[in-house]
Amino acid sequence: MSNLSLIALLLALMAIGYQLGMVRSRRVAAVQTMHSRPHHYGMMVGLWAFIPAFFILLLWSLLAPGVISSMVSAQLPADALAAEGMSADVIMRRISNLANNFGIVAEAESWELAAAAYMQQLKTSSAVLLTGLLASIAAAGLFFSYKRIQPQLRARHQIERTVKAVLIICSTVAILTTIGIVLSMVTETINFFSFIPPADFFFGTTWNPRFSTTGLTEGSLTGSQGSFGILPLLSGTMMVAAIALLVAIPLGLMVAIYLAEYAPVGFRTTAKPIIEVLAGIPTIVYGFFALVTVGPFLADFGASIGLTIRATSALTAGVVMGIMIIPFISSLSDDIITQVPKALRDASLGLGATKSETVRKVVLPAALPGIVGAILLAASRAIGETMIVVLAAGNSPSLSANPFEAVSTVTVTIVNQLTGDNDFASPQSLVAFALGLTLFVITLLLNVVALVIVRKYREQYE
């Protein structure tokens, strides 16, 4: 039986348990006052039928494949294994393919067929065993909790504890995600550093990973395998992000100031959401826009004033990314500017300052920490942005200070090096994790600093 139908079976038992528990508690309640409502007892019986069996199912489906394959490999004839010259992994994969009735490369040996038959047999008995086990555990849970229904039993408390446990489990998922990100990237990065020394990675000035050499053994890789210096990628990332911020900070800040201080209410309520639409557009759309419209436009414009601007360049990607992050800066700054107490403005205006003087000399200095936080958040968004640079930055990893040239960034390189190949054996694909970890650390630092600043600022005026 598949896991899905087993879960369906458990759910059915749970429903039966609910009904039985409710009926019984109603019967008891007719004579005595109960601690909880009938549906609490029903729910309790249902949960007892479902949860223990469900955990067994989880454990079983995690452990059973490993146990079965080790039992099968213990049965394999040792002489045949030695003669074959294949790694144990490959042989087990062949056998499990045979057992699942999938095709394999080359004729199957007789001992392979025997092992496959054995595996099939083990799988069948495992499924039968599991079904029996689950059914009996669920039935036992149902039966005993059903028997325990008494007026004194605090069924509601049991249920509430269970619900709370589920809530706690759900709120740990976010932490587990972070741990998962850090762990997976750190392990793969350590793997990568077993090929390439960290100093070559962090301080190398050439990026030339060559083609992927998956399939070669590890020994033959350590000769000439390309250079993995991150500096050209970091400089490209920083250049694009800097151009984006140069576009977005003046525009975003002035938008925020105008909307917060000058604009009539009607104008503000229409303009603000329209500008915020920019934040909701998928980045692939910006990438396409940069590639087919902005890039050629900038190239033509450059040609008309005698500059050589490549259609896909740091400038193209940066300008379009700047458009994308305008709303990040404008919305956050707008919030922060409107939080500046009115008393400060009134004091300044009362002393005869004009509105722009008030904004420049009173409101902005007061809001500065918050605005810096907003800018840092926007910077972290720009550094981690992928699709725009994949399409519009030109992908040419070189240390160059010319924004009109094609560049490559950390994110682009991650996409290029890791294209869904699940074979993480070569430095060419492992480097993606080292790059990802670098990116993660940089954006994390920016975010933490920004969040701390913004939070401090909010507390100041609350």
């Binding site: 589920v166 105008y258 980045t283 087919v292 003087e357 975010n447 969040l451």
Partner: protein, 461 residues
């Protein structure tokens, strides 16, 4: 610091007339300049807003002007005679009452592959001969008029209904992508023959047929009904990518939304205020700002590398996008819960409800509109995300519409990425823009739904 200087000056103004006139002079002298500055500053602010609005407008006008024409595609109207002399096949198998399902299935498959051996191109060529008398003299040119995918459409018609054999049907068949480009004027017609994709004969025919109205622009159902295609570019469609995105969104809706809401309820209502909760809070805020591509790396390492889930499958994409959406849902739900006045909880608790009952029976129902809004916005954000999907192999070319979340598939944003790189730029620039319009339409309607929900159920306490 003009205002600082003015304060003492104004104080002394009441006592000494000489100082007053001096200060007044100073103020009067600077007044014009300051008012000019004021106007300039306001003007800069207004122009920043106008520039931003213009950028939004340019972006949309650009995409729509490029993409809208692609919703109509040139098609040729032909009378196709399903000639029994060409389609020589045995009778379509019917399931016998005592026949086992799998035996019948096998017979049916055999019959279908028999139909697959028929040369359906000949039906199209015969149809073309009726409108182009000289088609048989230029066989090679004639074969390039109708896009190659249409022969499969004809085959499917025969498989669905074998009675069609012997009948004549008037069909609108898609023309080759190059003809569509030519007719829409997206190619320089003055280029010499050697640089043209279409041979002179085909161009002559196309001009003739479109003059006669036999080739016309028709609404392109192919764009919506077909999966991606590489051999027959004109019939490449979004159906596969759409289904892939749909499966992923289902995973997000059933995973990220309930989990996020549960986590938010715990953190907002139950969690003790201590260091650990603080850590969780900081962690969630940071997770919301982690670049999406990092989630793709996580998916590649954990779901594909360790758990051995299938590559390119919507289930993996859905899991990755769920983890990405989770912080958004948690943050939105928490702020909604925060906005519900404590009096609701106190009233429930005062009447003897347990904390759990107070929250699940009284607070949560009031929070549902806000939670839904947050969840929809999270799903819309996940729908447009492409970068993490590239890392888990969803940029593979998939020519079928996936029928389940474990099958190979792409997604709408990834399809846009794949199409923009196609060599036939003239055709695919419009096709890509059309795909973008579809994606934007989906996202905007999700957003509109969220705004409507908020407007409809918004309560001010």
């Amino acid at each position: 610091m003009t205002e600082m200087k003015m304060t003492p000056a104004n104080d002394s103004a009441t006592t000494s007339p000489a100082a007053l006139s001096k200060t007044q002079q100073k103020v009067a002298a600077s007044l014009n300049r300051r008012h000019r500055q004021e106007k300039l500053f306001k003007g800069i602010g207004l122009s920043a807003v106008v520039i931003s609005l213009t950028l939004v407008a340019i972006l949309f006008i650009n995409i729509f002007s490029k993409g809208l024409p692609a919703f109509w595609q040139s098609a040729i109207t032909l009378d196709i005679y399903f000639d029994p002399a060409i389609i020589q096949i045995s009778e379509k198998p019917q399931q016998q009452p005592d026949e086992l399902d799998n035996l019948f299935f096998q017979r049916d498959i055999e019959w279908q592959s028999e139909v697959g051996l028929i040369n359906f191109n000949r039906l199209i060529t015969e149809g073309l001969k009726k409108v182009l008398p000289d088609a048989s003299a230029h066989r090679r040119d004639a074969a390039r008029i109708v896009t190659s995918g249409e022969r499969f459409a004809l085959r499917q018609m025969v498989i669905d209904n074998p009675d069609i054999i012997g009948q004549t049907q008037r069909l609108h068949l898609l023309t080759d992508a190059n003809i569509d480009v030519w007719l829409k004027g997206n190619i320089d017609r003055s280029l010499p023959d050697s640089q043209q994709q279409l041979s002179p004969k085909v161009r002559e025919w196309v001009a003739l047929l479109s003059e006669q109205g036999i080739i016309q622009n028709r609404f392109s159902f192919a764009l919506f009904m077909n999966p991606d295609s590489r051999s027959s570019l004109a019939s490449a469609g979004l159906a596969g990518a759409f289904m892939g995105s749909l499966y992923m969104m289902l995973v997000v809706i059933f995973l990220a939304v309930p989990m996020g809401v549960a986590a938010a309820i715990y953190l907002e209502e139950f969690a003790p205020k201590n260091k650990l909760t603080d850590l969780v809070e900081v962690n969630i805020n940071n997770l919301a700002a982690v670049p999406s591509i990092v989630f793709g790396l996580l998916g590649a390492a954990v779901f594909i590398g360790w758990f051995k889930l299938p590559i390119s499958a919507p289930i993996v994409g859905g899991l990755v996008l769920s983890l990405m959406t989770l912080p958004t849902v948690i943050i939105a739900t928490r702020s909604t819960l925060k906005a519900i006045p404590p009096s609701i909880r106190q009233a429930a608790l005062g009447l003897g409800a347990s904390k759990m009952q107070a929250i699940f029976h009284h607070v949560l129902p009031l929070a549902i509109p806000g939670i839904l809004t947050g969840a929809i916005l999270g799903v819309a954000q996940a729908l447009g995300e492409a970068a993490p999907l590239l890392l888990i192999g969803m940029k593979a070319f998939v020519a079928q519409v996936p029928t389940g979340p474990f099958e190979q598939s792409t997604a709408l944003p990834v399809q846009i990425f794949l199409w923009q790189g196609n060599e036939l730029r003239n055709f695919f620039e419009a096709r890509t823009s059309a795909a973008i319009i579809v994606l934007l339409a989906l996202m905007l309607s999700l957003n509109a739904l969220a705004i409507w929900l908020r407007k409809k159920y918004e309560k001010r306490w």
